[in-house]
């Protein structure tokens, strides 16, 4: 596989704060690469360094096999960027905005017109061509932001938290669109603190915390890094301590906790863990309500590696 982006030992400091701590990343052609981490973990700083917007203290960045500099115009023409904040002109219509940004990359007028129309079609903004951004809803505005970044058909698209403050319906449309772009051969770098999004669309993921890459791999690879393979949750009105001890002693159970009328049992490997837990409850004549079992999530991965849940960090 061809390496599209190669980051080696990237270090960025803001005074005493280390924003990026010897970060190394390899992103390959045709993949959707996710950068997952809580706010302040260094995702956007990585992107800004990647785009040569930010200066960095140490390390090197190569894109398409060439060193990335602020004047690497031959590299920049193949990159599409969708910023975290909507970056459009309030005074230009939807069509004019897309045409303007596409025109920064494509000089041929006829080709540009075709590309702009395709971007409008792709993002479903056909009915809003003559609308000014202020008249658009949050979701439509995000779609315009995306259209401005992809209209020139780049080989590499960088999306920095493109679904922040977007309703679920628009979010799904955006995610579907990203997957479609990837199916057409575009390499995607996607940053988010929403692990569900990352799990849904990314083929490979790097988890970041405090400027460091703490894990990298496919979803399955990441989940295999941790001992949790299954989490069983049971709703119970009461649970005597001796029963909790029995459950803790079951094979493959490495953690059992009862709080808030909920029994949470974490298992590592093994089969039929749920049946064994329910069997203990039945033998002790304890009635229970809802029972469900979950496979490990990226949050579990983050929790196990850092000792803090991703969502706790967001809070």
């Amino acid at each position: 596989m061809n390496t599209v982006v190669k980051i080696e030992n990237l270090v960025k400091r803001y005074g005493d704060l280390i924003a990026l701590d010897h970060l190394c990343l390899d992103i390959y052609e045709g993949e959707v690469f996710g950068l997952l981490g809580p706010n302040g973990s260094g995702k956007t700083t990585t992107i800004n360094c990647l785009l040569s917007l930010l200066s960095y203290d140490k390390g090197s960045i190569q894109i398409f096999g060439k060193e990335m500099t602020p004047v690497s115009y031959d590299i920049k023409k193949d990159i599409g960027i969708i910023m975290q904040n909507v970056a459009v002109f309030d005074e230009l219509t939807v069509f004019e905005n897309i045409d303007y940004f596409c025109g920064l990359y494509i000089t041929d007028k006829a080709k540009r017109k075709q590309y702009v129309e395709e971007a409008i079609e792709f993002t479903g903004l056909n009915d809003f061509k003559k609308f000014y951004p202020k008249k658009l809803s949050g979701g439509l505005l995000r779609r315009l932001n995306i259209a401005c970044g992809i209209a020139h058909k780049p080989k590499l698209i960088i999306l920095d938290e493109p679904t922040v403050a977007v309703d679920p319906q628009s979010r799904n449309k955006i995610l579907e669109g990203i997957q479609e772009l990837n199916r057409n051969g575009t390499t995607i770098i996607y940053t988010s603190h929403y692990m569900e999004e990352i799990e849904q669309i990314c083929t490979r993921i790097a988890i970041m915390d405090k400027g460091r890459k703490i894990a990298e791999g496919t979803k399955d690879q990441l989940k295999r890094m941790i001992k949790n393979t299954e989490t069983i949750t049971t709703e119970l009105l009461e649970l005597p301590d001796n029963v909790l001890s029995q459950i803790s002693a079951l094979p493959h159970v490495y953690s059992a906790d009862y709080s808030g009328d909920k029994l949470t049992v974490c298992c590592s490997g093994g089969k039929h863990n749920l049946i064994r837990v329910l069997d203990v409850l039945q033998k002790n004549d304890l009635s229970f309500g809802r029972v469900y079992t979950e496979l490990p999530t990226l949050n579990d991965v983050f929790l196990e590696i850092t000792g803090t849940a991703l969502r706790d960090k967001e809070d």
Binding site: Y14, N48, L51, S52, L53, L54, S55, T69, P70, V71, Y73, D74, K76, K77, I79, I81, M83, Q84, N85, V86, A87, V88, F89, E91, L92, E96, Y100, F101, G103, L104, Y105, T107, C148, G149
Partner: protein
């Protein structure tokens, strides 16, 4: 690429409501207020015309001297009075029809009847008062030294006649015109806000828009150049609208070299944009701070040029003349003075060159600072 950038720079600029309000509508309102405040006075001074009046000589009065005075008042190309000798009833009828502004009755003393109030009525009243005050002197002079009578009559004539000054050029020399000059200078300096937005829209550390532009393969010099030229064009348009509104709608007399007035105003606008561009490029300050700095400099500059207090510019010229030479608003308004007052272009040339030099310095420094490639913070 350059034309593409320029096209959208112009398109987005003319749709900015703030720009329309502050650079077009606000100066129009302010200009109209100035006109309302000073225009009446200005008109009275500059458009004084011969006053029509009726003269009624009472029976049995020796009006020899009075007629001599009246004759001198009605002589020349622009006489003070146009008199009609008639009887009292006819005079009152003429006054009622507004054919005349007043009735001068020559009796033992000179008396006056006027309709309404105004500068012409005031002038007639002033004339009558002065006539009565000097009548005694004239009579005494005729009695004692007939040869001096003519001098006394002439003295009376000079005192009563409205003095119309003859300017050295065809320009407008009234004191109130300076407020309109400074108004144009203010619009020009307000262009600094337009200039400030150039840097905001082109710097990655100031706006997401700037970041997106910096990520594109368009060289920054092209983007900046298009933005600067676009802003110059937009600001020039605002200056033309401002001058045209003052000249053709409010009828402000800018003299007979209107084309040069337009050129000076446009140069002033370019200076304003360049100033804002330079302030915007100062990386140490936040956008809010830069906006505040821009407005403060604009206001101080306009204040020192006499927009708020008319005499301050003269005081500065007496005490610290160098300040007027580097104050953008003063330099701009000075151009209009030179155009209006000077018969040659030597001072105007110096002022225009100063504006050009200041614009060039601000623009070049701004480009050098803004073209930095990477930012330490975003």
């Amino acid at each position: 690429m350059f034309l593409h950038n320029l096209k959208y720079e112009l398109l987005s600029s003319y749709r900015v409501k703030d720009l329309i309000i502050w650079l077009i509508i606000f100066p129009m309102i302010l200009g109209t207020l100035f006109k309302a405040a000073f225009g009446n006075i200005y008109e009275n001074i500059s458009t004084f015309k011969t006053i029509p009046a009726a003269v009624v000589v009472e029976d049995g009065i020796d009006d020899t001297v009075f007629r001599q005075v009246m004759d001198s008042m009605t002589e020349g190309d622009e006489p003070f009075l146009k008199v009609t000798y008639t009887d009292k009833d006819s005079a009152l009828e003429m006054l009622r029809k507004d054919d005349i502004k007043g009735i001068i009755v020559c009796g033992e003393k000179l008396s006056l009847t006027v309709s309404g109030t105004g500068s012409e009525q005031s002038a007639l009243r002033s004339f009558a008062d002065q006539y009565n005050n000097t009548q005694h002197i004239v009579m005494e002079a005729l009695k004692n030294d007939p040869a001096s009578a003519q001098k006394v009559i002439m003295s009376l004539q000079e005192d009563c006649s409205p003095v119309s000054s003859k300017p050295m050029t065809q320009g407008n020399t009234d004191n109130f015109i300076q407020y309109f000059y400074n108004l144009i200078a203010m619009v020009a300096i307000y262009g600094s806000v337009t200039g400030l937005h150039i840097t905001v829209n082109n710097q990655a550390n100031l706006s997401p828009l700037g970041a997106r532009k910096c990520c594109s393969p368009t060289p920054k010099a092209i983007g900046l150049g298009a933005s600067l030229i676009g802003s110059y064009i937009v600001q020039s348009g605002c200056m033309i609208i401002c001058v045209s509104f003052l000249r053709f709608v409010l009828d402000i007399d800018f003299g007979d070299r209107l084309l040069l007035v337009y050129i000076s105003a446009i140069c002033g606008g370019i200076l304003g944009v360049s100033l804002g561009f330079f302030i915007g490029s100062l990386n140490k300050f936040s956008f809010g701070m830069k906006t505040g700095l821009c407005m403060t400099i604009s206001m101080i500059s306009c204040y020192l040029s006499g927009l708020m207090v008319g005499d301050i510019k003269g005081d500065i010229a007496s005490n610290t003349p160098w300040l007027n030479n580097i104050n953008p608003a003063s330099v701009i308004s000075d151009c209009f003075y030179c155009l209006n007052i000077d018969s040659d272009y030597s001072r105007l040339k110096v002022k225009l060159l100063t504006m050009f030099a200041l614009s060039a310095v601000f623009s070049v420094l701004g480009i050098i600072i803004t073209r930095r490639k990477k930012y330490a913070y975003i």
